[in-house]
């Protein structure tokens, strides 16, 4: 046993990657803020939990799986909204939906009153919670309305770090945001692989085939085809830096969701008789052609 660090092999001296994915929803949100600048809104001890889960024999969580932190990033007021990936697959219910909506609305009001407030959404979510289906769907509509008001005045950065990914109604929220950041472990898609397999059979989409799924929904492919703005490693520092740069860039001049012609042309360019694979699609829908 030695106490001298010099005696350690050099591999131990190399900078270790600081995994973001291994953090829970609250820990993830905290990584973005200037030190000691944040506070939690409607935290666990406010006990605003879902009233719909207990009657269906599902244990509720005290924050309904949605963590809202308000603080400063590079000195600018920012709200970070984080979906807890481990609770009900990061799903969106009535309460979590209302929390997101209210947070975006307050950010919008503050910005319009001269206190510029940005938003960061950590979307580890399978979409609407099936145990609160209709209320969750209504919540998606409300979140989108709030997001469209806020994005005019402040940048909204979405992140899919993994490994749940961002699916269902919440993928619409991601697509309408100002910027989308992904890691190679992150995923983005409207219908999740299990839903497609359930509806169209395993020969259409095998939800157990991880290579296939990540080749289609994964961060690398989404970035290569211009559907994500930044691709980063699963590293707290890298992710934080990417989000900070985008917040600094401000409101974008053109939103992805406004480029209707571009995406119509993209669909028109695909011959449905041909079995497209991810590499072909990457060439046809190259991100350079989105500018």
């Amino acid at each position: 046993m030695t106490t001298s660090t010099e005696a350690l092999p050099s591999a131990h001296m190399a900078k270790r990657r600081d995994s973001f994915i291994e953090l829970n929803g609250r820990e993830r949100a905290i990584t973005f803020f200037d030190p000691d600048s944040w506070r939690e809104l409607l935290g666990p001890f406010d006990r605003i939990e879902s009233p719909w889960l207990l009657p269906q024999n599902v244990t509720p969580q005290s924050d309904d799986g949605c963590i809202v932190l308000k603080g400063k990033i590079d000195g600018i007021s920012t709200v970070v909204i984080s979906m807890e990936p481990a609770f009900q697959g990061g799903s969106l219910g009535e309460v979590s939906g209302a929390k997101i909506c209210a947070a975006l609305d307050l950010a919008c009001r503050d910005t319009e009153n001269g206190i510029r407030t940005n938003a960061v959404l950590l979307l580890e979510t399978g979409g609407v919670r099936l145990t609160e289906a209709n209320l969750g769907l209504a919540a998606v509509a409300e979140i989108i309305a709030s997001l469209l008001s806020l994005r005019k005045v402040s940048p909204i950065v979405c992140l899919s770090a993994g490994t749940v990914g961002c699916f269902g109604g919440m993928s619409l929220v991601a697509a309408l945001s100002s910027y989308m950041v992904m890691t190679t472990e992150g995923r983005l898609g409207l219908n999740g692989p299990e839903v497609i397999e359930q509806e169209h059979g395993v020969e259409e989409f095998d939800s157990k085939d991880r290579t296939l799924i990540w080749a289609i929904d994964g961060g690398e492919q989404r970035y290569a085809t211009g559907l994500a703005d930044v691709l980063v490693k699963d590293d707290v520092g890298e992710i934080r830096q990417a989000v900070r740069s985008l917040l600094k860039a401000g409101v974008p001049s053109v939103y992805r969701s406004e480029q209707v012609d571009l995406y119509r042309k993209r669909i028109a360019a695909l011959d449905p008789a041909y079995q497209w694979n991810p590499e072909d699609l990457r060439k046809t829908w190259h991100r350079e052609n989105t500018k």
Partner: protein, 99 residues
């Protein structure tokens, strides 16, 4: 779903300096909310998705309160955690409440 309530004698009112929240209601895990209580007892409420294990819960809590004498209210939201995980989360909550 099962809701369980337990009470333990616990005299130490100043033991927990503040409230603490640890864990997540994810598969095999649990969430613990711990708050100081102005009483000479400790209360525990458990909501678990796995019914039929009240004896095991009592055994884990008996063991915990053999060493811990803080007058606290503990709420547990459980998604099928094993006794080992429960004990670790309780210890983590206690540590967080004493900081």
């Amino acid at each position: 779903m099962e809701i369980l309530n337990f009470k333990f004698s616990a005299k130490n009112k100043g033991k927990a300096k503040g409230r603490a929240h640890v864990g997540v209601v994810g598969s095999g895990d649990l969430e613990v909310l711990l708050e100081p209580l102005d009483a000479s007892s400790a209360q525990v409420r458990i909501r678990t998705s796995v019914p039929g294990f009240s004896e095991q819960w009592k055994a884990v809590l008996d063991r915990f309160f053999m060493k811990y004498d803080g007058a606290v209210a503990i709420e547990i939201n459980d998604a099928g955690a094993t006794p080992g995980v429960v004990s670790l989360r309780l210890a983590q909550a206690v540590e967080a409440s004493e900081q």
